[in-house]
């Protein structure tokens, strides 16, 4: 693949989520979706910082956090690579964990609107059915 490795990263300014966290979440989501396989090389800090016009220290903080969480690993003297995973089973819980921030926001809004738990859940179920992609398992 000769596509630009930094092309799939993007950040949003003006949100409550710091940029390093947005980058870390994006990496995790891409790994979970299979776009990044174990052993794939990540763009260097400098490359990614220049492409997104972001402070390199922010990128490096994101990488450090991912390294600490075991998502990425550092090869000796070279750039980061995606760490090898144990197996497909933990994947589901990891992916579920990724949905947490969005659900937290939805939960806060539900409380503010004064909706009961049953009502909110019923709504979520309806929406899941409405938006189900045709070829989903």
């Amino acid at each position: 693949m000769t596509t630009d490795p930094t092309a799939h990263f993007s950040i949003v300014t003006g949100s409550a989520e710091p940029i390093y966290r947005q980058l870390a979440e994006q990496v995790k989501r891409r790994i979970a979706a299979g776009q990044l396989a174990p052993g794939d090389e990540m763009p260097s800090v400098r490359e990614l910082a220049q492409a997104l016009a972001v402070n390199p220290m922010t990128v490096s903080k994101a990488y450090s956090q991912l390294e600490a969480q075991g998502v990425l690993e550092r090869r000796r003297g070279l750039s980061m690579v995606v760490a090898a995973r144990a197996g497909p089973a933990p994947r589901v819980s990891d992916r579920a964990e990724l949905l947490r921030p969005t659900l937290e926001r939805a939960a806060i809004e539900a409380h503010q609107l004064g909706l009961s738990e049953a009502r909110a859940l019923a709504l979520f179920k309806t929406i899941l059915q409405e938006t189900q992609p045709a070829d989903a398992p």
């Binding site: 950040i11 300014t13 003006g14 949100s15 409550a16 989520e17 710091p18 940029i19 390093y20 966290r21 400098r46 910082a49 220049q50 997104l52 016009a53 972001v54 402070n55 390199p56 220290m57 922010t58 903080k61 937290e104 806060i108 409380h111 503010q112």
Partner: protein
């Protein structure tokens, strides 16, 4: 990794006071910048950002207090230190009788180090006519030229006063990329003041809020945003909660319906996501700006 000799702070400001007549602009201001820090200076219009940046460089009279750049007091800066400082002022329509070529040759003659290749590359990339008098260039081109002039001698301390005010979004993006590629990567200390919060979020690692003549908060931006919460509720309850949990109250303002909004920063422990009777929400940089500056 222990260094016997640590570099002095790039900028060390102590007890800086500046007043116009009876109106104080800077009031006992303390500030320190370590080498390599990229700090965004935020403040309302008229808060004194330009005055502060000019005082840092010794361009203002009537300031009392000490300012040290690279460990040297302002009035005794030697030539070597001055060659390490770059400044792009807010008014970019300077030297309007010269052409860009003349201007850059002029400044080049003063500095011991000048990166011709980079200057030429930037002039080409930003399509600035080298032979047109600066007075006839557009505002955006003048501002870009001002930035090139400040970067040309590869300074170790770069002070930018609203560097992108006249640039369109493409120009701002370009400038930020240039800043990251050429300046930040080399470990330059950068101070810049801007109103454009999105630029600041991208590029600044630290942020400082100037309000009431002082730097009231200076912290890494990520930590500040993660550790601060906006709390809305009855005023008593808010103050109670802040007291018992030992939070730092950054700002408080009353709301129309008798409640109050408080910006509180938790200490080392994670702030809660919900509290009884109080709405808790995370903050964006804009919320911080509105809440912290007056």
């Amino acid at each position: 990794m222990n260094q016997a000799i640590t570099a002095p702070p790039t900028v060390a400001v102590d007890h800086l006071r500046l007043a116009y007549g009876n109106k104080p602009v800077l009031d006992n201001l303390r500030w320190q910048l370590q080498p390599g820090q990229v700090v965004g200076l935020l403040g309302r219009n008229g808060a004194g950002k330009t005055s502060l940046l000019e005082s840092l460089l010794g361009l203002r009279d009537g300031t009392t207090g000490t300012v040290r750049l690279f460990g040297q007091p302002l009035d005794r800066l030697d030539d070597a230190t001055r060659a390490r400082i770059g400044y792009a002022p807010q008014h970019s329509d300077l030297f309007e009788w010269m052409t860009p070529a003349q201007l850059l040759a002029y400044f080049k003659s003063f500095y011991p180090r000048w990166n011709d290749a980079k200057v030429d590359a930037l002039l080409d990339r930003w399509a600035i006519d080298r032979e047109m008098p600066i007075g006839k260039l557009s505002g955006g081109e003048q501002q870009r030229l001002s930035i090139i002039r400040a970067l040309g001698h590869e300074p170790d301390l770069l002070v930018l006063d609203e560097p992108v005010a006249s640039l369109d979004p493409a120009g701002r993006r370009d400038f930020l990329q240039e800043l990251v590629e050429q300046v930040i990567v080399r470990g330059t200390t950068v101070i810049f003041s801007t109103h454009i919060l999105s630029d600041l979020e991208r590029v600044a690692f630290h942020v400082g809020f100037l309000s009431g003549g002082r730097i009231i908060v200076q912290a890494p931006l990520d930590e500040l945003m993660e550790g601060t919460r906006s709390l809305v509720g009855p005023q008593q309850a808010l103050q109670q909660a802040a007291r018992t949990r030992g939070w730092q109250v950054l700002g408080e303002s009353p709301l129309a319906d008798g409640r109050a909004r408080m910006l509180a920063r938790a200490g080392s422990d994670a702030p809660p996501s919900s509290l009884a009777g109080i709405e808790v929400s995370s903050v964006t940089l804009e919320d911080l700006f509105m809440g912290l500056t007056r």
